[in-house]
């Protein structure tokens, strides 16, 4: 099996599964309980926050554990917007954000917020000047993803951070769901105020994640209730999930350190092969994230290609998993102005640290065969 769909979701690591199991067996207390079972659980929760903080270079009290990327993005955006609406009601984001950002931002419009959705142009990379131009006195939040999930473009987080650094009233949120553990981002150097991570994209468990929220930032809570996590996220903490998330973060961080060229090598190899193929047009520009490679095979239905590859035990995706059913056109490819024959025929390959060069070779060979066969059928 060749699994090249790691941006949709990843296989939990053995260590992650073991962490979950151990915690579930040994620490079943409620972190809010005052007895030994609760105190043990609470201690483990603290330790997890500390470790997550260390891995991100931030403080333990800046970590909020969530149920995943969607909740993290909603909490960051709605949390800041509702807490600071007295300061201003303008929010900036980009046209290629994940729906959990875009729809959260749009939901604010009903509450009287004004939303600027910046286009990204043909490169798929946001122009920092566009952010600068869009900023207003009443802008309270800018939300820009680090790596785009469909195209793999890397956004200029550092430059935007610089731009916003001296604006005390404008917070900066970054969706790091697709980049954590693969592409460096220093939350401090980039002056990021809020950042989202999802467990299942980094070989953790689905339904786990965290939001980094810089100290001092008030967040209006999404959920009201027991006041867990310093009143920022009510609900009994999923301790097993939390410990396993931190484990996944640690393993990813180590792998990035030990295999800094892993994704580049896979990407180069695949690019060379794809470039030599008739019918294939690569959509992801050079020098973007190496673990995501998006290409189109115009005139072929991407689902047909996907299933033909699947028959050969190779798994890719046609567009982001959340959007798989509704629209025919990829909204992200559309946003960068690609013609319809490319926006409706795209295939996304996304790598993990477990993938190998051998797999890339098998894949490209299989893809050539698939294209040949389909050409024949279409005559």
């Amino acid at each position: 099996m060749i699994y090249f769909d790691n941006s949709s979701t990843t296989k939990p690591l053995q260590e992650v599964a073991e962490s979950f199991q151990t915690v579930s067996e040994q620490y079943y207390g409620n972190t809010s309980s005052a007895h030994q079972f609760g105190l043990d659980a609470e201690k483990l929760l603290r330790k997890s926050s500390q470790q997550a903080g260390q891995l991100l270079g931030v403080g333990e009290d800046e970590i909020i554990f969530t149920s995943g990327g969607t909740e993290g993005n909603n909490l960051a955006i709605k949390g800041v917007a509702l807490a600071y609406q007295n300061r201003g009601k303008h929010v900036i984001t980009t046209a290629i954000e994940h729906p959990s950002v875009l729809e959260s931002v749009r939901s604010l419009e009903a509450l009287g917020f004004e939303v600027t959705v910046l286009p990204v142009g043909e490169s798929g990379v946001l122009d920092v000047d566009a952010v600068s131009d869009a900023l207003r006195e009443d802008t309270i939040l800018v939300s820009v993803m680090h790596v785009n999930n469909e195209l793999g473009t890397i956004q200029p987080i550092k430059a935007i951070g610089q731009l916003l650094k001296n604006r005390a009233h404008t917070f900066f949120h970054v969706d790091m769901v697709q980049s954590f553990g693969k592409i460096d981002l220093s939350l401090n150097d980039c002056s990021v105020d809020l950042a989202t991570i999802s467990g299942h994209k980094i070989h953790g468990i689905k339904g786990t994640g965290l939001l980094f929220a810089r100290k001092g930032i008030r967040l209006f809570p999404l959920f009201h209730g027991g006041g867990q996590q310093n009143d920022r996220r009510s609900g009994t903490e999923n301790l097993g999930g939390i410990v396993s998330l931190v484990k996944a973060m640690r393993v990813m961080t180590e792998q990035k350190m030990h295999h800094p060229d892993h994704f580049r090598n896979l990407n180069h190899l695949m690019r060379i092969e794809l470039e030599s193929m008739d019918h294939v047009i690569i959509n992801t520009m050079n020098d973007q994230a190496d673990h995501i490679l998006n290409f189109s095979i115009p005139h072929f239905k991407p689902e047909v290609v996907l299933h033909a590859l699947e028959k050969r035990n190779i798994f890719v995706s046609t567009k982001s998993a959340c959007a798989s059913k509704k629209e025919e056109e990829s909204p992200v490819l559309k946003a960068i102005g690609l013609p319809r024959n490319r926006t409706t025929s795209s295939i996304r390959v996304s790598f993990s640290y477990q993938n190998t060069e051998g797999e890339v070779e098998l894949f490209t060979r299989a893809l050539k065969k698939v294209i040949q066969e389909l050409n024949k059928v279409m005559g």
Binding site: S24, N30, S32, E71, P99, K206, F223, G235, N238, L306
Partner: protein
């Protein structure tokens, strides 16, 4: 050190070993994203549908009316705030009770801050809401009534079916937080006439961080989270399949006679305390309560020193809900049941039974409690 005895199952329960297996197996074998169209995705989708069916069956509901959430708190928030916001054109009034879990109470208080009118129903000295009180507060502009099925502090069972009947002809939707009832009391959403119902897995030996909201199709609910199109747009986010499979397993392990088993524990526990001459009074009424929860006040004692000493003796009990995040505040539930300076408020301890217990432990627990009480006297 003495073997600790866990008598705090209403705060959370240990995961059943078969549940841990189910979660682990799912992580190993079915890791696809249910939204992916390839076989890994389809396999995940199949398991997700299967779980939804099991859970729907457990409350005699239809599959499509079950929405997975990250737990009881999220489901309560979605039910209370989501229903209120989506039905504002029909009215501005909401009814709930003074003894709800904070997930409902604080959600209702939030609604007040944005202009909703909320009535918090009183309870009797057993912690029970009277149906006639619901009736007398019902108005033409009432859009939602939220009353829990079993109270988490004293175990009081609320007259859900009667309230459901009362509301049958009224526009108001009826939500019940069934977190503490699920698995112990029979639940049939049609028979109970509830429109929305909350469940949390970690109270039934399932995983933490997962639960579901039942919502019948005619109820419009404004989503709390925005994003992908999962859970028919009511609750976006990649589905937490391993946790959901764990919850499904926990439900498949439900036993019909569980209530009897816990009732036997409760009877044994109180008998032992009596035999050992411990002076206590019961908060609430045993006839109309979950057998898994018993809340006792120890005359002349104080909660903090009781809890500390119980803990030293290896008895894990609680002062009420675990969810007041570590602080020992006086219970809003007992405050609603009793006069303001009732002695019983200062010495109330909740004991709750479950999977971690056996008969021997219950006897041993009573013995240790008796020791603590006589020492503190």
């Amino acid at each position: 050190m003495k073997e600790p005895i866990y008598l705090d199952h209403a705060a959370t329960t240990p995961m059943h070993e078969e549940v841990i297996d189910a979660v682990s197996t799912c992580m190993r074998e079915t890791f696809g994203n249910p939204s992916s169209i390839h076989q890994y995705g389809r396999q995940s989708r199949r398991l997700l549908d299967e779980a939804r069916r099991t859970l729907a069956n457990s409350i005699h509901a239809k599959e499509k009316d079950v929405y997975f959430t990250s737990g009881g708190t999220e489901a309560d928030n979605l039910a209370v705030i989501g229903t209120a916001l989506a039905n504002r054109d029909k009215g501005n009034h909401i009814i709930t009770s003074k003894v709800e879990h904070h997930a409902v109470l604080h959600a209702a208080e939030y609604l007040e801050t944005i202009g909703f009118d909320v009535t918090y129903l009183p309870v009797d000295e057993n912690g029970i809401v009277d149906v006639s009180t619901v009736a007398s507060h019902l108005r033409d502009d009432t859009i939602l009534v939220s009353v829990m099925m079993v109270n988490n502090e004293v175990g009081a069972i609320q007259p859900i079916r009667e309230i459901g009947q009362l509301l049958n002809e009224h526009q108001a939707y009826f939500h019940t937080d069934a977190v503490q009832a699920y698995g112990l009391l029979p639940i049939d959403v049609t028979d109970l006439m509830v429109d929305l119902l909350t469940v949390s897995a970690h109270k039934i030996n399932g995983p933490k961080g997962v639960g579901f909201l039942y919502s019948q199709p005619a109820v419009s609910v404004q989503p709390h989270l925005f994003g992908g199109s999962q859970e028919r747009l009511k609750r976006p986010g990649t589905e937490a399949l391993p946790l959901i499979k764990g919850m499904e397993k926990a439900v498949s392990l439900f036993k019909n006679d569980l209530a009897k088993e816990y009732e036997a524990y409760r009877t044994l526990f109180l008998d032992q305390l009596n035999t050992l001459g411990v002076k206590y009074s019961i908060n609430g009424n045993l006839e109309n309560a979950s057998p898994a929860i018993v809340n006792l006040s120890f005359d002349g004692m104080n909660v903090e020193s009781l809890l500390m000493n119980f803990d030293l003796e290896g008895i894990a009990a609680s002062s009420g809900s675990a969810c007041t995040a570590g602080s020992i505040e006086s219970s809003h539930v007992l405050s609603a049941m009793y006069e303001q300076n009732d002695e019983r408020l200062n010495s109330a301890i909740r004991f709750s039974f479950g999977l971690a217990n056996n008969e021997g432990q219950i006897k041993e627990a009573a013995k240790r409690i008796a020791n603590v009480i006589s020492r503190l006297q």
